[in-house]
Symmetry: C2
Amino acid sequence: MKLFVVGFGCGSRDGMTLQAENIIKSCDVITGYTVYTDILRLFFPEKEYISTAMRQEKERVELALKTAADGRNVALVCSGDSEIYGMAALAFELLHLYPDVEIEIVAGVTAALSGGAVLGAPLTHDFAVISLSDLLTPWEKIEKRLMCSAMADFTIVLYNPTSKKRADYLAKACDILLEYKSADTVCGYVKNIGRDGETHRILTLGELRNESVDMFTTVFIGNSQTKIISGKMVTPRGYRNV
Amino acid sequence: MKLFVVGFGCGSRDGMTLQAENIIKSCDVITGYTVYTDILRLFFPEKEYISTAMRQEKERVELALKTAADGRNVALVCSGDSEIYGMAALAFELLHLYPDVEIEIVAGVTAALSGGAVLGAPLTHDFAVISLSDLLTPWEKIEKRLMCSAMADFTIVLYNPTSKKRADYLAKACDILLEYKSADTVCGYVKNIGRDGETHRILTLGELRNESVDMFTTVFIGNSQTKIISGKMVTPRGYRNV
């Protein structure tokens, strides 16, 4: 049968696409990380769920593939998009274990987009998305990507800006960016996008350097043109005479 | 009244979020570029539409703001996301003309995500999004962003890869990338994502250099780890022991 890897957006009921909703409704089993299946259980209480613990990514995807190979249609759910720091690639990487399973990837609204909409319009122009988690990526590579993104004058979106073990990573990232960007660069962050307790703040890069954010936060660093209009973070496209 | 700037996704009926659908249904008027209002007219034939021609971005947004200022709820619709190369920023930039209007930005699934899902999972890891259109951006800035993205080993998504006047821009972009990336780098492109005539191809960067694509195409250039699995373009996240 078929494995759908489904991005369900930020976690609000209406942040998911109609396609994601239809697929989740039509599947026999919903699998995923416990926090995500708990969210979906509220919206689709009648479905069957199989959840796995944090950091059990390989086991989670193997179980989803096995369940599909056993003859059931399975939705493996990811918050935001199914590709971006999600499970879609791993499903293809493990497909050799259950080669008869067909995989379909279903896109969702990632935090760069849903968080950007909360702040205003920071992502109008070219941008880069970088995770500060060095669990799976050497920190030197992350540093190089930050440096290159600053040199390119991208708007930059940071995922996983911190964790218990990486409390100082956002400050370290800001220090790299401050070598290339003004301390006045307009920045913003959004916590718990689309969910209870959503909060956001717009501030300068210099202020962000000393800000404390948590792992449920997405951080936005403006490009050289980003400005504040009516309290919103706005990166202009560059239409003339505006 | 209120102006909603709404990203409606790739253009398939079920590619939009429930939020976008609900807002479009609840608004008094739908405004936007003719091609987009024509798409939405198929889905919501009962609504009132006001459409504007290509390149009339400023006039389009002014009209939307004016219509809202006149006391109607307006949805200004953008394909993909409302921020990314969309109209969200311009709405804030022109808000001073009608300062009583309230603006709400509604995110949608941009082509990087919906196109990525067609190709497999190219965007698992850090990535950059760059438009090759030099209508509003100097080509030198675009070249620098391409160069920095290649140095950073980002997966790169190219929007607006070509036009009648810019027939050789994709080749020019590939030439810059080829200075830093192997000609064997896995690439892909998707045309007419989610719509009639959707096609895609996976190929090498060397092949992409000589490929002819049109303006309805989104192009993906893998990072150094991107590979082909079961005919799909897959960028691994880096889970150990996979």
